[in-house]
């Protein structure tokens, strides 16, 4: 992802500017885990401070404490010099603390202005409010039409609505939780401009992320968390990604080994003119997709979310069967009408985007979750009855081979951090020795250490002769692991290019639907305007 040069960090003079928020010795103990341990932190007016850490390092817990969602077990919090106990998010907002969550909390069937009105105290007049939204959005470069419905907005636009909702309450501290995970490179630039303008006006910003490049480009200062503790503070502009990664994960940033692909493998997945109309009125129709994925190669599909990725994955996995057989061919079998279970028996494995609730059953143990897809393949069923010892043994293998940090095969899936659950699911699929692996967002929200590990496992699987299809919104990731790359935009698939023969910039342009020979190039709007499913 192209990153602008680091800002000439306007290091606030500690003596001149009062600290807006100070935390001292904050701790949060849950029954099974110490989420925060003796955390100290200060953020000043006009400062953009990164909270950097792996998944499970305690970033989210800390932000929830500041925003009044949870209460700390111990420690003190000072707001503009006065000690406070934040009782609730409403209390936090009344103090001037705003938060934009990673997962949006908007009502899809309501308009922008209606959504904003719901978050404000009292019953604001909608016309007046719409006017204020227009003003704020013009001032901070966040163009949004207050009369539009949320479902018609792209992910980037939805995030703008969330930010505007915060800004209308004149926050003096803004907390951003992993805000760029859903944005195109262009949208990230826009967001950073907005945040810088806010900081220039004196707003303090806490920016949670694990993306080192972004933090170096945006943040003045950084507090690094590991295992619930502060492991260091730094000025990102003066650090390298490697040195920050060391603070964050305690060791060197791992790199993936990627050799040249084997040539001439058989076709394991073929899309032969796949078209499919989406049932969802806000979904994307797939139009005439052609793609071959061979044994021993990794093919990546890039694109802004909501351009048909979900629909394509469902059609390939069989969760959404087709009316015809031929458009989806798996290991030489025309599989368009087969159920997901039948496709798995042909040798396909599938890692979905949502881990909890789709890739895994949250309340069930890891052993039970092993049964979810591996029951037949790993001999866990005999005469219709379950062989729990086999399920436990297989779950144990996933845990051991993929370094899943958890309480063992009996641990509930939802007790794992996102990254560890992702490792478990990827492990469960890979250890079944598939002939074709289809992977959606393999490292979404996963920390750098786990992400590198998962990517390496996918590459190793390819080296063993498996065909791999990866659909991801992270271009860096696709370029790191893929042999060939295509782009999906508005339900159409671009030509496939060898990864070495194209660049992140070219693919970024293609993500707007503008690839050579694109018949719809004329009417394709900019990528950020694409409706999100």
């Amino acid at each position: 992802m192209p990153i602008p040069p680091p800002p000439t960090a306007p290091q606030p003079d500690p003596a001149a500017v009062p600290a807006r928020l100070v935390l001292q010795g904050i701790g949060k103990v849950y029954p099974t885990v110490v989420a925060n341990d003796d955390i100290g932190l200060a953020v000043r007016a006009g400062e953009i401070r990164a909270i950097l850490g792996e998944n499970g390092a305690g970033k989210s817990t800390l932000m929830k404490i500041i925003y009044g969602v949870t209460r700390p077990s111990c420690g003190r919090m000072f707001w503009e010099g006065e000690e406070v106990q934040v009782e609730s998010p409403a209390h936090a907002r009344s103090l001037g603390i705003g938060m934009v969550f990673q997962h949006f909390s908007l009502f899809e069937t309501l308009t922008v202005v209606e959504n904003v009105a719901l978050a404000l105290p009292g019953k604001p007049a909608l016309d007046e409010l719409a006017q204020r939204i227009v003003e704020v959005s013009a001032r901070y470069g966040l163009p949004v039409d207050p009369r539009r419905h949320i479902h018609a907005l792209s992910v980037g636009e939805r995030q703008r609505v969330e930010i505007i909702r915060c800004l209308l309450q004149d926050p003096r501290l803004l907390i951003m939780d992993e805000p760029t995970s859903v944005l195109t490179p262009q949208a990230v630039h826009k967001l950073f401009e907005t945040l810088r303008r806010l900081a220039d006006e004196g707003c303090a910003i806490l920016y949670i992320s694990h993306k080192l490049d972004e933090i170096r480009a945006l943040c003045h200062t950084a507090t690094v968390l590991r295992g619930g503790k502060v492991t260091g503070e730094c000025i990102p502009a003066q650090e390298t990604p490697a040195s920050m990664a060391r603070l964050m994960i305690g060791k060197e940033l791992p790199r993936c080994e990627h050799d040249a692909p084997q040539a001439g493998g058989e076709v394991r997945l073929r899309l032969a003119g796949l078209s499919h109309a989406s049932d969802d009125p806000f979904g994307t129709d797939l139009r005439d997709l052609h793609l071959d994925v061979h044994a021993g190669e990794i093919v990546g599909i890039a694109g802004v979310s909501g351009n048909g990725q979900q629909e394509l994955l469902r059609v390939i996995s069989g969760e959404e069967p087709l009316a015809e057989r031929f458009p989806v061919q798996i290991c030489g079998v025309e599989a368009g009408r087969l159920s997901p279970g039948r496709r798995r028996r042909l040798g396909m494995a599938f890692v979905p985007e949502e881990r909890l609730g789709r890739g895994a059953v949250p309340t069930m143990s890891l052993a039970d979750n092993a049964l979810l897809t591996a029951a037949h393949n790993q001999g866990m069923v005999a005469a219709g009855f379950l062989r729990f010892e086999r399920a436990r043994a297989f779950a144990r293998r996933c845990i051991d081979d993929f370094n899943v940090k958890c309480g063992g095969p009996a641990a509930a899936a939802k007790s794992l951090s996102g990254g560890n659950l992702q490792k478990f699911i990827v492990g469960r699929e890979i250890l079944q020795a598939p002939r074709l692996l289809v992977c959606a967002q393999p490292t979404w929200g996963v920390d750098v250490g786990a992400a590198a590990f998962i990517r390496q496992q996918i590459i190793d699987l390819r080296n063993r002769g498996c065909a791999v299809l990866v659909i991801s919104e992270e271009l860096d990731e696709l370029f790191e692991i893929c042999d060939r790359i295509a782009v999906i935009a508005k339900g159409r698939l671009s030509p496939v290019r060898a990864a070495g023969a194209t660049s992140i910039e070219d693919i970024g342009v293609w993500m707007s639907g503008l690839w050579p020979g694109a018949e719809h190039a004329a009417d394709a709007p900019a990528a950020t305007e694409t409706p999100h499913a």
Partner: protein
């Protein structure tokens, strides 16, 4: 000020303590009801809750009442776990009774040992067939199974009435709406001499064991549990939603049909228009009080049977209307739903002002 705070994990302790809490609150509520009706609460408690367990015969009556509840509830629990909401066990119970009665009447005075097994099969098939209607409508036309199965209860009731007032009416029965009494070979054997407790109780216990094995040990049961808690995960794993709807409804219907067969071939010995008397609906409460779990359902069905018999006792000795047992059932479900909040939340005392 009291406030509810979400627990990090649902409490296992509370999920078992909540039915006990509900029972305790129901008892307290019952004493208040007795007092409000001008009865001595202590006497009321004795008649309602102790009379039904005072001797072997009373206990056998309790088990007799619990038998159909157990059967219906274990069948319903299988579907409920997969979010298949069969509310029509009452109707499936009646159709099971009708099918078994048809077999019994067909064989007449035959002494064949095959009559009873045939009635068992017919009862299960009758209940399952009635449940197949909502399953078909749900999988074909996406018609809500709650409404369809419930409405079919009233159809079943009218069908039974038509039979016993019409073609199946006992010609020597002084025009009462009932069939002929079944022959010896079409009646379930008594398990304990001198009581009315019949072999259906053993069938019900076996059904509990089978239900446990199905839900907790079989792959099909596992698939249904997954579908119940995470429909997207079930779709991802390739578990067919239609199959689960069929399985959930057919098993629930078959169990309810068996219970209906047990009533006509057991204590009643004939089919009347009052055959179901609310077992199918009460079983819904039993299934939930029993946490959709075989052991829990065993205990909950005994409790519910106690309420039925206690109500009869209260009618007899306290001059209270029989609907008193409905009041107790209602209180039990009400308090259970209330107490269940504490599985996911805890109560915190909070100082005023914030």
């Amino acid at each position: 000020m009291l406030e509810l705070e979400a627990r990090a994990e649902p409490s296992r302790l509370m999920s078992w303590a909540s039915p006990l809490l509900a029972v305790a609150l129901m008892l307290v509520g019952g004493l208040v009801v007795f007092a409000a009706l001008g009865k001595d609460p202590v006497e009321g408690f004795r008649v309602f809750f102790l009379n039904p367990v005072k001797d072997l015969y009373a206990l056998s009556e309790l088990l007799l009442k619990a038998t159909p509840l157990m059967l219906c509830a274990i069948g319903l629990a299988i579907g409920f776990r997969a979010n298949v909401w069969n509310i029509g066990a009452e109707g499936q119970f009646m159709l099971g009774a009708v099918a078994a009665t048809g077999v019994a009447l067909y064989f007449g005075d035959s002494e064949s040992a095959l009559v009873l097994p045939a009635m068992v099969l017919a009862g299960a098939a009758g209940g399952a067939a009635w449940a197949a209607i909502p399953a078909l409508l749900r999988t074909r036309f996406n018609a809500n199974e709650i409404l369809v199965s419930l409405m079919l209860v009233y159809v079943a009731q009218l069908f039974v009435s038509w039979l016993v007032f019409g073609p199946w009416k006992d010609p020597d029965g002084f025009n009462f709406p009932q069939t002929r009494m079944f022959a010896e070979a079409a009646t379930l054997p008594i398990v304990i001499e001198g009581t009315r407790l019949h072999f259906g109780f053993a069938i019900a216990l076996a059904a509990l064991v089978a239900g446990y094995a199905f839900m907790n040990r079989s792959h099909a049961g596992f698939r249904m549990r997954v579908a119940g808690v995470a429909a997207d995960a079930a779709r991802y794993a390739g578990f067919s939603a239609a199959r689960m709807i069929w399985l959930g409804l057919l098993l629930g219907g078959a169990a309810a049909g068996l219970a209906g067969m047990g009533e006509v071939a057991g204590p009643m010995g004939q089919l009347t228009d009052k055959v179901a008397s609310g077992y199918g609906f009460a079983a819904i409460i039993v299934a939930f009080v029993g946490r959709l779990n075989a052991l829990g359902i065993l205990l909950a069905s005994l409790l519910m049977a106690l309420l039925y018999i206690g109500g009869e006792q209260a009618q007899q000795y306290l001059n209270l209307p029989n609907s008193i047992s409905m009041v107790f059932q209602g209180m039990l479900l009400f308090f259970l739903l209330g107490a269940d909040v504490f599985i996911h939340y805890r109560l915190r005392l909070r100082r005023r002002g914030a």
